[in-house]
Symmetry: none
Subunit: 414 residues, 2 copies
C-alpha cells in the first residue's frame, strides 16, 4: 500500500513551525507496513488543496490529510474536501454533542463558530476525535482512501493510533508486520554497534534492524513484514531474547516503556520511595517522573533549589563548601542528595548541579558541565559530565543521565 501525507496550513510554508507531524505519521505508516510515497505541504487555499488531492488520487492508495479543520475563517479543508468529493456539509449531531460536552465541562458558551465545527461532509464516515472538537473524516474514491485529521499534534496522534490505523489494517490491503523496539542506554551508537555486530550479522535476511538514536538513548528496532503475524512475532522475539542475553546491563525496556516508568516499577516492587533535588535541571526530572501515571506510589516530591540559599537552608549544604568548590561540584551535589533524603524521608534521591548555559561558563567549568549525585539506602555516588552548549538539550540530557544512574544503583541494591 502506497500513501501520501498532505499537510494543510500556512505556518509550515512560512517556516514558522517545523513539520514534526509528517515525520511522526511517516514513521507510524512505515511501522504499519504502508510505504510513504510523498509528503506535500500546501496553503489553506481551495484550489491548491484540490490539486494536491487530484494528484494524490493518481499516485497512491491512501491519503492522509492534516490541518485546516479549526473553527476560523482560514480553515477551509472541509470545503475543499466537499468540492473534491462533490458533496456538501451537513450538521452532525454526534460531533455537536462532543463539542457541547467539552464546552459545558469547561463552562464556556458555544458560539456559531463552534457549532459550525459540527458540520461535516455528507459523503464521508465521521471518526470521533476524543481529544478535540474537529473529527476525523474518512472518504473512499476510485479505490483510494482519503482521511482528514486535525493538525493539533496530540489530537492527530491519538486519532491516528486508535482510530485510523486500526481501520486501515482492517481493509485487508496492508501486510502483517511485527516490530519490537529495544531501549538501550549507556553505550554510544558506534560502540553499541560494535558490541552487537555478530548478532546483527546473524539476523535472518527478512528481519530488519534500525538504530534510532536520540539524546537520551539508542533504540534498536527489529521489524519483519509477511503474511502470518504470529510467526513474525515468534521469530522477532527470539532475536530480541538473544540480544537481551548479550547486553543485559544496557537494555532498560521494550516498546512503549520509558525510563521513568521502568524505575517506578522497580521502586514500587521493592517498596522504596524517591525524591529529587534539582538545580540545573530545574524541575525537568520531577516532570519526567510525574508524567508516569500512578507516580505518587513511589515519588514523594522534589525540590528545585535554583538559588544557593535554598541549597543551604533546605538541603543543609554547607555554605563553606559552596564558597570553596562552587555550587557545581562533587561535594555540593553529594550534600544535596543526602540532605534531601533527610528532608523528604525517602530511600533514594537524585541531585543535579551544572551550568546549563548559554551564560555562566568559565575556563575551569565550561557551559555543559554537570555534576549528578544519587543517594540510596547504602551509599551515595556522584559523577561529572561535560555536555554541549545548548541550554534545553543540556537540561534534557542531564535529566535522563541522572535517571540512568538511579536505575543502575537500584539494580545493584536489589
Amino acid at each position: 500500500m502506497k500513501a501520501e501525507i498532505i499537510t494543510i496550513g500556512d505556518e509550515i510554508l512560512i517556516g514558522q513551525i517545523v513539520d514534526t507531524n509528517s515525520a511522526w505519521i511517516a514513521e507510524q505508516l512505515n511501522l504499519a507496513g504502508v510505504e510513504v510515497f510523498r509528503i506535500t505541504s500546501v496553503h489553506d487555499d481551495l484550489n491548491q488543496i484540490e490539486e494536491a488531492l487530484k494528484q494524490a488520487e493518481k499516485d497512491v492508495d491512501f491519503v492522509l490529510i492534516t490541518g485546516g479543520l479549526g473553527p476560523t475563517k482560514d480553515d477551509i479543508t472541509k470545503t475543499a474536501l466537499c468540492n473534491f468529493f462533490n458533496t456538501r456539509l451537513i450538521f452532525n449531531e454526534d460531533v455537536f454533542n462532543i463539542i457541547h460536552e467539552r464546552f459545558t465541562r469547561r463552562n464556556i458558551d458555544i458560539n456559531k463558530l463552534n457549532r459550525d465545527q459540527a458540520l461535516v461532509p455528507e459523503l464521508c464516515e465521521v471518526i470521533p476525535n476524543k481529544l478535540g472538537t474537529a473529527p476525523g473524516l474518512w472518504f473512499e474514491k476510485n479505490n483510494t482512501i482519503f482521511v482528514s485529521v486535525p493538525g493539533v499534534p496530540f489530537e492527530m496522534r491519538h486519532i491516528l493510533t486508535y482510530e485510523i490505523l486500526p481501520r486501515l489494517m482492517q481493509t485487508g490491503r496492508t501486510k502483517a508486520i511485527y516490530h519490537k523496539t529495544i531501549h538501550t542506554q549507556g553505550l554510544p551508537e558506534s560502540m553499541l554497534a560494535e558490541r552487537i555486530d555478530q548478532w546483527e550479522t546473524a539476523l535472518p535476511a527478512d528481519i530488519k534492524l534500525a538504530y534510532l538514536p536520540n539524546p537520551m538513548s539508542v533504540r534498536l528496532r527489529l521489524s519483519a513484514v509477511g503474511d502470518n503475524e504470529e510467526l513474525l512475532k515468534q521469530r522477532v522475539e527470539k532475536e530480541a531474547a538473544k540480544l537481551q542475553d548479550l547486553i543485559p546491563d544496557y537494555i532498560f525496556g521494550y516498546d512503549e516503556d520509558t525510563l521513568p516508568e521502568v524505575i517506578g516499577r522497580m521502586l514500587i516492587e521493592n517498596g522504596r520511595l524517591l525524591a529529587v533535588a534539582e538545580s540545573c535541571t530545574g524541575g525537568y526530572i520531577s516532570h519526567l517522573i510525574t508524567l508516569v501515571p500512578g507516580s505518587s506510589g513511589f515519588y514523594k516530591g522534589g525540590l528545585t533549589a535554583y538559588s544557593n540559599e535554598l541549597k543551604e537552608n533546605l538541603l543543609g549544604v554547607d555554605p563553606e563548601l559552596i564558597t570553596r568548590n562552587g555550587a557545581v561540584s562533587e561535594p555540593v551535589v553529594r550534600q544535596m542528595a543526602e540532605g534531601l533524603k533527610n528532608l523528604m524521608k525517602v530511600d533514594y534521591t537524585i541531585s543535579t548541579s551544572g551550568i546549563a548555559g548559554p551564560d555562566g561558563g568559565t575556563d575551569e567549568k565550561p557551559v555543559g558541565t554537570v555534576w549528578i549525585a544519587v543517594a540510596g539506602p547504602y551509599y551515595t555516588a556522584a559523577e561529572k559530565f561535560i555536555l554541549g552548549d545548548n541550554r534545553e538539550r543540556n537540561i534534557i540530557r542531564s535529566s535522563y543521565t541522572a535517571l540512568r544512574l538511579l536505575r543502575q544503583m537500584i539494580l545493584k541494591d536489589i
Copy 2:
C-alpha cells in the same frame, strides 16, 4: 515570486528524520519576500524527481531542490536534473579542485566516487560550496529558476544565505514581505475570533490574518506582501496596535516571546522574586521557567509537593484542611502558595493541586479538576479549572494557565 521546496531522500519519508531543512528554507524565503507555494518530499527515484520538477515548473517561479547530491549510489539528483533539462554530466575543474583540496587537507586519498562529485550538468551555472564537496547548481527554464543544493544542513544554510539568496534578490523578481505574530492567552480560538471579528473584517485586503492555536495559547499572525518593506511594516504594526488596544488583557507577547520570558522580564524590571509549589504539575512549571536563560535572576526555586506529608511539613498546610476538603481544594492551594512564600522568602508564588489522571477522579472531582493559586505581595487569588482526561495535556495546560494567572497578578500590582 512563488517558490517550491523539493526535498529528495528516503529518510524523511520513512520518518527517520524531521524535515527541519524545509522549515528553515521556508522562513528564509519568506523573509526574502518569496512566497513558498508548496513543499514536496520525494524518494531518491528518477521518475519521481522528474515528475516533481515538471509539476513545479507549472506552478512556481523558483524551485529549491535539496538532497541527493552525495557520492553514493542512492544519490541520483544530478542524473534526474540532466534528464529533466536534457543535458549531460561534464567534468568541472573548479569543483574538482575544491574536492581535491578538502581531501588533501584531511590526508585522505580521493577515490572514484569522490571524483564523480566533480561531474556537473553541462547546462547549469555551478555555485561554489565552501563547506562541502557537492556544489550548488542553478538552472533556468521557461522563466522558472531551479536551484539544487546539498541536504547537509550547515552546507545548505551557508550556500543559501551567501550565494543563492543574494543572486535571487538580483533578479529583481522578489517582493518585500512583513510578518507580525501576536501571542494571546485566555480566550479559546473561537471566542477570540468573535471578540476581534470587527477588527478582522476591517483589515485591509492585502494584510492576511492567520490563527495558530496550540495547547497553551492562540497566536495571531499578520502578513503583508508588497514593494516597500518600510510601508508594509508601518501598516502591519498599525493593525497590531489596534488589536493591542482591543484585547490588551489577552496579549502577552509578540514574535519570539514566550510566556515565561515575558514574566521573567516583568519580575526583573520590578525587582521581584518567584517560587512555585507544584502538586499535579509535578515540576513542569519550574521546568518552563528554568528554560529561560538567566532565570536565576528572578526564580529562586520550587517545591514539588507530591505527597500530602510534604504539603504539611514543608508548606505548613493544615492537615485538618486536607482531611476536610481534600488536597485538591481552594483552601489547600491557598495555603500552599502562602506557605511557600514564607519558606522561600519570595514576592510571588504559584501553587497547583489537581487530578491529572488517568486515575484518581471522583464524581465530585473528576479527572482534570485543578485548583491553582497565585500569592503576591498584596493578596492571594485562587481559581478552579476543569480540564480534560489526558495526563500530559492536563499538566501542560495547568502549567500555562498558572503562568497566565501569575502574569495577570503582576500586571495589576505594577
